[in-house]
């Protein structure tokens, strides 16, 4: 027993060390900095809760929180609906084509956020303008030049990137739905629509727990896509919280203040994730 627990800790040690060095220690350092005035070089003063008080009257920060929330809501819905639709599509009996589509749908996930941002910037600015010139449709004009198109541009980009990944999760759950249940449903006279909603759907609820959690937390933490696509513009109206924090830290050089924003942001994400987990867990069905 003695030996066992020792090897146990020994094997755990490297990971623990890594976590301690890159996560836990910086976290506590961060909490400390959030109570100070810090420019990245030296702490110039201890200010107590001032940073936190200032933060609640910082309109741009509060706006960016709201914007990030709206963005997350739109993209979580978009990603899960499209991801599930893709999953249903490729689990049909399509033979070779099924593998092909799985690969294609998953591919955007392999491209980095910055590159994706630039690709879509090209699509929105150049391709869309081209389409509008050819067809004369006003809809394709002036994308990313106002808040609304900036917002939907970001949502489209992120949905496009994440759907394939979420699809994989849904596929694995869909494949685990026992065949005999579906057969029984068919014998009882259920059509495809009914057997999806009444049999498959309740059984893949655990997939929602995972997918919602992943998409929600990822949507809140989007930075690179935001930076590459809109850069927060026009007039800072598509600036997400992560970008606001980064800019406060590295452009305005107020590290301490940025740190306090980051901590508030962390609390917000944690709360939302915990609430979401609690509610979706409750809905899960056991066989």
């Amino acid at each position: 027993m003695n030996f066992k627990s020792r090897t146990y800790w020994l094997f755990l040690l490297p990971t623990l060390l890594a976590l301690l060095l890159v996560l836990i220690i910086p976290f506590f350092q961060g909490v400390y900095y959030s109570f100070t005035e810090y420019n990245g070089f030296q702490v110039t003063g201890f200010v107590g809760l001032d940073n936190y008080i200032k933060l609640f009257s910082d309109e741009q920060f509060l706006y960016s929180l709201g914007f990030t929330g709206a963005f997350s809501l739109a993209s979580v819905i978009g990603i899960n609906v499209i991801g599930l639709a893709f999953a249903l599509l490729v689990t049909q009996k399509l033979g070779k084509a099924s593998t092909f589509f799985r690969t294609v749908y998953f591919m955007p996930n392999l491209i980095g956020g910055i590159i994706l941002g630039f690709i879509w910037q090209f699509v929105f600015l150049k391709a869309f303008t081209g389409i509008s010139e050819v067809t004369g449709l006003e809809f394709f004009r002036g994308w990313l030049a106002d808040t609304e198109t900036g917002f939907w541009g970001l949502v489209i980009l992120f949905v496009w990137q994440m759907s394939g990944y979420i699809m994989v999760i849904y596929i694995s759950f869909l494949n685990n739905v026992p065949q005999e249940l579906l057969e029984a449903a068919t014998i009882d006279g259920a059509n495809k629509w009914q057997s999806f909603w009444k049999v498959k759907f309740p059984l893949i609820i655990p997939a929602f727990t995972v997918s919602l959690f992943l998409t929600l937390s990822n949507a809140f933490k989007v930075y690179d896509q935001n930076m590459a696509l809109t850069g927060g513009g026009p007039f800072g109206s598509t600036e997400m919280t992560t970008m606001n924090i980064y800019d406060t830290a590295f452009k305005v050089q107020e590290m301490g203040y940025a740190q306090s924003k980051a901590i508030v942001f962390l609390i917000v994400i944690t709360l939302i994730s915990v609430i979401q987990l609690y509610f979706t867990r409750k809905k899960e069905t056991e066989l």
């Binding site: 020792r6 070089f41 030049a145 106002d146 513009g233 026009p234 007039f235 800019d247 452009k251 305005v252």
Partner: protein
Amino acid sequence: MKVRLFISLLILVSLMVACSSGESDDNNTASNGDEVVIDVFNIKVETTDQLNNLVEEYESENENVSINVTTVGGGQDAPSALQAKFSSGEEPSIFLLGGLSDTEKYSEYLLDVSDMESAKTAIDGTLDGATIDGTPYGIPLNIEGYGWMINKQIFEQAGVDPASIDSYQSFVEAVETIDAQKEELGIESVFAFSAKEDWVVSQFSSHFTAPEFDNNIQTAFKADQLNFEYGDRMKEYVDLFNQYNYQPILSLDYSTSVEELFANDQVAIIHQGNWIVPSLNSIDESFVKEKLGIVPLFVESDDEGKIVAGPSWYWGINKEKDEEVVEESKKFLDWMYTSDTGKDLIVNDFKYIPAHEGYDPEDISDPVSREVYEYLLNGKGKIWANNQYPDGFFSEALLPEFQKYLGDQQSWEEFEKNVSQSFTEMR
């Protein structure tokens, strides 16, 4: 059992040691045989190749020196990268300073350069942007100037002689004349001001803020108020280009504005500086020689046109490095700006406008750069006031408020009020 445990621990530890000592080995080999290693942190992406070329030349002349150039910039956040270098302890020996704010920030590392040859030969006043309490801490990299860059060919086809623009009114007339013939000239619009780029907006604002700060870098840096003394003229210019600009102006970026619209004769005027010369050259060799011109802005009075011209970057030397590294760094910079080889490369390879004396203006290769140089020598250059704004001011306050005005989200009065307020808060 204990032995085995001990052995595995030992392996773990020795592995870690091996890893870390592996790195230091690399460093040792680099400085073998009394070789001095200088780390240069470069932000000017446009001239990376030229800098590498210059370094190679220097290394072949001085075999005991090895120079490593790290280049960060362009789309990346170079000042953050520099700060990260310092925070991580890999401080470079020579690095670029963007103005007094950088100089102040790194002042404890910076060497007093006043006894260096390249500081003595610097054109009067060009050291100001890196001088604190009378002590210069940086060598000016080059001179850069900006204003309205125009396509002279389009102007002439429209019947406007660029040289005849000698007042604000004649500039407006020229714009209107060109706009009236848009179809015949085959252009998209008169202006292509890229209001998406924070630095373009920031530089533009400098024309109007520099005179408010008495055209003095030190005053600009110490100012804790921005009152838009020349705000009315600024509004007139903004309304003018917004009316005749390529739309949507808010998502117009640098490359569309310069490399697509301007370089392909689709627009007549952009707000840029002489740094676009190399990229225009790479698209069309004849453009710069035959079509490119610069038109000043008329701010303080209706008929006195000025551009902004001056050094925007300074080479700082890290005095915390070993003495021999510091010595070699000084020699390298002196060589770069005062030796014949260095001078030749600066003008002909970098195509810089020199910030030092001892150059023949005739050597400057392109006409626009020569024009900028002459503006500066004739006292028609203004300071880069935008480089002395508070940290983050231009991207976090000026740009969003400016875009709000362009996008009809607020009035000019609100713009002035909000920007002034942020200026004081952020200082």
